[in-house]
Symmetry: C2
Subunit: 322 residues, 2 copies
């Protein structure tokens, strides 16, 4: 069973809840709201130009004195500039994803940052641990956005990673409630990362039309696709249907790249173009039913967690004799 | 949180653990070993001729006086004959899958059988409840063998189904340990169904070479494929590579049907042909590391469950003041 204190101590936060760094959703407003409410707020730098990231970090600092992180997808073309900003601005925690953790971890650690790496397999989790990261986020197939090729789900991935690693493990993918957080802890997670539900927070910078589409989403409305490029979980919409049509007509990788083009995620999630945009969200969107302030989301998750934990304790009492 | 007593009371068993009815693995030997150890043993009729099913039911009765079930995939060509055998032999519990629960539920209920239906979505779960089944098995994307088209994982599916239904919910997919069983209960499951681990039981009728391949399986070694026919999760082997090759060359549904042919599952799982056979198993095969008697598997799962529950209760005590 996971130990939530390992995560709260590492990050210096009250609750073992990390808000996922999501492109076009998680600027300083969302991150500050989460950090001020006791979680770990994360600025998602993958959709930001270098100067925009600096602006968000500074605005965060004006809005909150609590710990926070910046998420950096290492495939980002200007990754050097982002890392320079992070070091200059003394961002306490860096969450790296989509790349080799060996490239940046020791430089960041030497500069005094806490480093977390996102993984989708035990193999990459072990590699991250060897690279010296402080913790990993183990992200299952059900998570939104970019995802691993192995398609291992949260239920299978988290116990395997938790068993293999000595460092703390944060579970991601499919988690939007306190009882799911407790379930992740049963599987060995020391904390959780929550994306989709915070994408629908009032403070999320996503377009209102995108948030409403997420709220309306039913089970089966998302699919992990474009595996030949970089696997990504998308909400079904006319653009997704075009991708399916391309597969049916046996599209090549080049065809898929041409179809995807550039800027589709911004168009969908930030500009609210639900027809031509790329709409990244997790399977758990099926369980999300309203826009709420981030603090309210976090409070609900924590009270749900405590209720579930107390229910567990009562079950343990009842079955003590069996 | 799920209530395990709902499942133990419904089936009249000691533990809320259902052994999955798996083709070529679960004959009377495995089912009797599980039922005698306190779980619900299940004969998988999908790979049996009608007279073979009758023989297995009779042999079960000689080997055990405990409750048991027969699993019937309703796409089975001789489903009428299987149902006649089940009624004549007064099999106490019937688990139906892969078809419309309305077709058989009321006839089975009128004849005094307990009926359970396997679902992969809330939509089908509600349909099963309306048809009058006594419980559902909610099976996630990570499960082995045939699976839903929505690709909803256990972590996302179980809470949605448990919230929508009044009848008991049994979680399936990704569960092979006591802590995973407790996690499923956190998500709302009243019991669990375990397949892959029992496929490797000493009493499983699968070929030894198949069991060894499952034990050797690492994460990422299974994939849900052949979605245009009926989605099925397969272990990677030369046959699976042929399927991938067919996709790369833009195979039609007819091409895929021709490639699959007939009898591949028997060839792989029962005859041990790891090259040309179809090897059905769940993602959790990555966590299975040995062949054990079914009673030992069940005892380990239950002691792991109790340990996890006690650890939870201690956490609840510690965090009571927070």
């Amino acid at each position: 069973m996971g130990d939530t204190e390992r995560v709260t101590t590492l990050f210096g936060v009250r609750y073992p809840v990390v808000q996922a760094g999501m492109i076009w959703c998680s600027g300083w407003r969302l991150a500050a709201a989460v950090s001020n409410a006791g979680g770990l707020g994360v600025i998602g730098s993958g959709s930001m130009y270098p100067d925009v990231l600096r602006e968000h970090v500074r605005k965060f600092k004006e809005a909150s004195s609590m710990p926070f992180a910046v998420n950096v997808p290492m495939l980002y073309p200007d990754v050097e500039k982002h890392m320079a900003t992070i070091m200059e601005e003394r961002v306490p925690i860096v969450i790296t994803s989509a790349g080799n953790p060996a490239t940046w971890t020791s430089r960041l650690k030497d500069a005094g940052h806490i480093v977390v790496h996102v993984v989708s397999s035990v193999k990459f989790a072990l590699r991250a641990q060897e690279a010296g990261v402080d913790a990993v986020v183990a992200e299952g197939f059900e998570a939104g956005g970019h995802n691993g090729r192995e398609e291992t789900t949260t239920f299978v991935l988290v116990p395997l990673v938790a068993q293999a690693l000595a460092i703390p493990v944060i579970a991601a993918g499919g988690i939007a409630s306190g009882s799911a957080m407790l379930a992740a802890q049963c599987l060995g997670a020391d904390g959780v990362q929550i994306g989709s539900r915070f994408a629908c927070a009032a403070e999320s910078s996503a377009h209102g039309a995108f948030k409403q589409r997420v709220i309306d989403a039913k089970e089966g409305d998302t699919t992990l696709t474009l595996k030949e490029l970089a696997p990504v979980r998308l909400l079904h919409n006319p653009f997704y249907q075009q991708v399916q049509e391309a597969y049916r007509s046996c599209a090549t990788v080049e065809d898929l790249k041409a179809l995807l083009g550039r800027g589709r995620a911004k168009r969908g999630m930030f500009e609210g173009d639900l027809v031509e945009g790329e709409l990244e969200i997790g399977q758990v969107s099926a369980a999300i039913d309203r826009i709420q302030p981030a603090a309210e989301i976090l409070a609900e998750i924590m009270s749900g967690y405590r209720r579930a934990l107390q229910a567990m304790a009562r079950t343990a009492d009842t079955s003590a004799g069996s």
